[in-house]
């Protein structure tokens, strides 16, 4: 492999700075002593906003809601996404190719369109806005992520593995447990983690499908207009970044390991 030239290195550094300097500044303001407006550089640094944030019941409730929504949306997405991927892989039916497109569409559509559509649908179905309507909203795009990961793995899995398992005497459930599931495990972890991360920081669709509940992103958004305790928002933002970062790193690790072993 050739070593990168000076120009390329500079360009890469520039791109990374461009992407991450704003986030660094956001982090920095989480420690500022100035509580009403953001001044650069901060007059002094403190960790007291972390304590304030931790003791804030609204934030705790929002964090709890976001975690629960992300978890349930992830589980729903994994189940539906895996079943759909299995159907598309194993069988031929009318509209099979179109199905892939339709499953992935919610990710490509602007969130605001998905949001409006879901809101009308929920109203039409006469459902009250609740935890479950948020989950339904998130599941639409989480399914796409789970489906994509699982179908990609299945396409690299030889169908004769399934046949070999049945041939050796395994019934459907045994084949699923001993052959298919181990084959899919890393794809399920990757898809699940990505779905979790996507759900955790989603705001646009959530504003349309939530009632009075506040997920963490919604809390951040609404607290921006409040003048006091500004840095608390930054502390929460920092927490969101960390909580989103972990699953994405795990997902990357897993997909790389799967790549190496296959």
């Amino acid at each position: 492999m050739r070593t990168a030239g000076l120009g390329l290195k500079a360009a890469a550094l520039g791109a990374i700075l461009y992407l991450h300097v704003p986030i660094a500044i956001l982090f920095l303001y989480a420690f500022t002593t100035e509580d009403a407006s953001f001044k650069f550089p901060p007059p002094s640094l403190t960790t007291r906003w972390f304590e304030v944030a931790w003791n804030n019941a609204d934030i705790r409730a929002a964090l709890g809601l976001s975690l629960r929504v992300a978890f349930v949306a992830m589980v729903v997405a994994l189940i539906l996404g895996t079943l759909t991927a299995g159907a598309v892989w194993r069988t031929r039916f009318f509209g099979r190719e179109a199905l892939s497109l339709f499953i992935v569409l919610p990710i490509a559509l602007p969130g605001i369109i998905t949001g409006i559509a879901l809101r009308s649908a929920i109203n039409l179905a006469d459902l009250s806005f609740s935890f479950w309507t948020i989950v339904i909203g998130h599941a639409t795009f989480c399914v796409a992520v789970a489906y994509n990961n699982v179908i990609a793995r299945l396409r690299r899995t030889s169908p004769s593995l399934i046949e070999a398992s049945m041939d050796l005497g395994a019934r459907g459930w045994q084949t699923f447990r001993h052959v298919l599931l181990p084959q899919l495990s890393s794809a399920l972890v990757t898809g699940g983690m990505l779905a979790f991360a996507l759900s955790f920081d989603e705001i646009i669709v959530t504003t349309f499908t939530a009632g009075n509940q506040q997920t963490l992103p919604i809390w951040i958004f609404s607290s921006l207009v409040r003048p006091r305790n500004r840095p608390v928002t930054n502390v929460v933002a920092l927490a969101v970044v960390v909580l989103t970062f972990v699953p994405i790193v795990v997902a990357q690790r897993f997909s790389r390991r799967a790549e190496e072993s296959s």
Partner: protein, 355 residues
């Protein structure tokens, strides 16, 4: 002899495509049976129907006398060695081999003994802890065999199992498979498109073409007496003589075949032996191939292929070279009449050969 497997009027179509067309076969218990044919001839579909991966559109498949046509793969006493081996990549070699016992909940102790035995059978005792990815093609092949044999099936199905190996390894494995089959005494059904492989290994073979069975018999029967032009051309190399030349040689225009090695080249001045068919021609191509030489001889516009063993110690067979006039003669019994169309096998009782 008892019948292990019977195909009774079996057909299979996929949409508009007729993959298997009214196949009747009886395969004897303990037999090494080859299904030979070009790709798309229906041989693999027949194997897959026997394994339970496809359900016949018509007809019945009997295993030890019982109709299994509609049974799922896990309820049939057959096991398969797949073309791509289909080893489970997330399991070790030993776990792969033990799979059939594991899903049938065979006890730990017996499982270990039988896995050791199966690995010893294919000479892989030392590799039980490896993953399939760490094995060579030949080793994977053996693991697939051990995994399929550990269930002690009534019939072992092999779907072009040596196709992915290089020539030398393939020839070694052919002999090994044959001796393995004698050792375990299980009926082997072996699908291949390689006529040499089928002739080398099988006790009997069926030649498939366009979803039909063209001929069933021992390798010698099929090779020496091909029933129609397709079999004559697909199993070995043959001369097919028809029309005016056939009339001139045998007195009637019925097409016949004669194998190149049955024809002797001689000097046109020498009288052929009593009871032989002969004709003069011109050598258009002579190729020295070591053990024998191959000649293409022009006979009144038709070209006959002759294989002459290089028996002469001083110089090859008559030293025939390009442009030389030669006399071809062969025993008239070497002329094997052919039925005109391959489809004419419909009324041939293929099943009769077994009982």
């Amino acid at each position: 002899m008892t019948v292990a497997v019977e195909f009774d009027g079996v057909s299979k179509s996929f949409g508009d495509v007729q993959a298997v067309n009214n196949v009747d076969l009886k395969i004897a218990d303990g037999e090494f049976f080859a299904m030979l044919g070009p790709s798309g001839s229906g041989k693999t579909t027949c194997l897959r129907m026997l394994a339970g991966f496809e359900i016949p559109t018509a007809g019945r498949i009997l295993l030890d006398g019982a109709d299994v046509s509609g049974l799922p793969p896990y309820d049939r006493d057959v096991n398969t060695v797949f073309q791509d081996y289909a080893l489970f990549p997330h399991m070790t070699v030993a776990e792969n081999v033990a799979y059939g016992l594991m899903v049938k909940k065979v006890g730990d102790k017996e499982r270990r003994t039988r896995v050791d035995g199966a690995l010893a059978l294919v000479h892989l005792e030392a590799l039980g802890a490896r993953r399939p990815a760490q094995l060579s093609g030949g080793q994977r092949q053996r693991v697939a065999l051990a995994r399929a044999l550990i269930n002690r099936p009534a019939v072992l199905l092999l779907d072009e199992p040596l196709g992915a190996l290089d020539l030398k390894l393939r020839q070694e494995m052919q002999l090994e498979l044959k001796s393995l089959q004698r050792e375990v005494g299980i009926t082997f059904i072996y699908v291949t498109h390689d006529q040499e492989e089928a002739l080398t290994m099988s006790d009997r073979l069926a030649v498939f073409n366009h979803g039909r069975v063209e001929q069933v018999g021992t390798p010698a029967e099929v090779y020496e007496s091909p029933r129609n032009p397709f079999v004559a051309g697909f199993v070995g190399v043959s001369n097919i003589v028809e029309g005016a030349l056939a009339t001139r040689l045998r007195g009637n225009p019925m097409p016949f075949t004669v194998r190149p090695e049955k024809i002797t080249l001689s000097d046109p001045a020498i009288d052929p032996p009593e009871g032989s068919v002969f004709i003069d021609g011109t050598v258009v191509e002579a190729t020295y191939l070591g053990m024998y030489s191959r000649y293409r001889v022009d006979v009144d516009g038709a070209v006959l292929l002759v294989a002459g063993q290089n028996l002469d110690v001083d110089h090859g067979e008559v030293g025939a070279t390009h442009g030389r006039r030669v006399r071809l003669h062969w025993n008239s019994r070497a002329c094997r009449p052919l039925s005109e169309s391959p489809a004419a096998t419909d009324n041939i009782p293929t099943a009769g050969a077994v009982d």
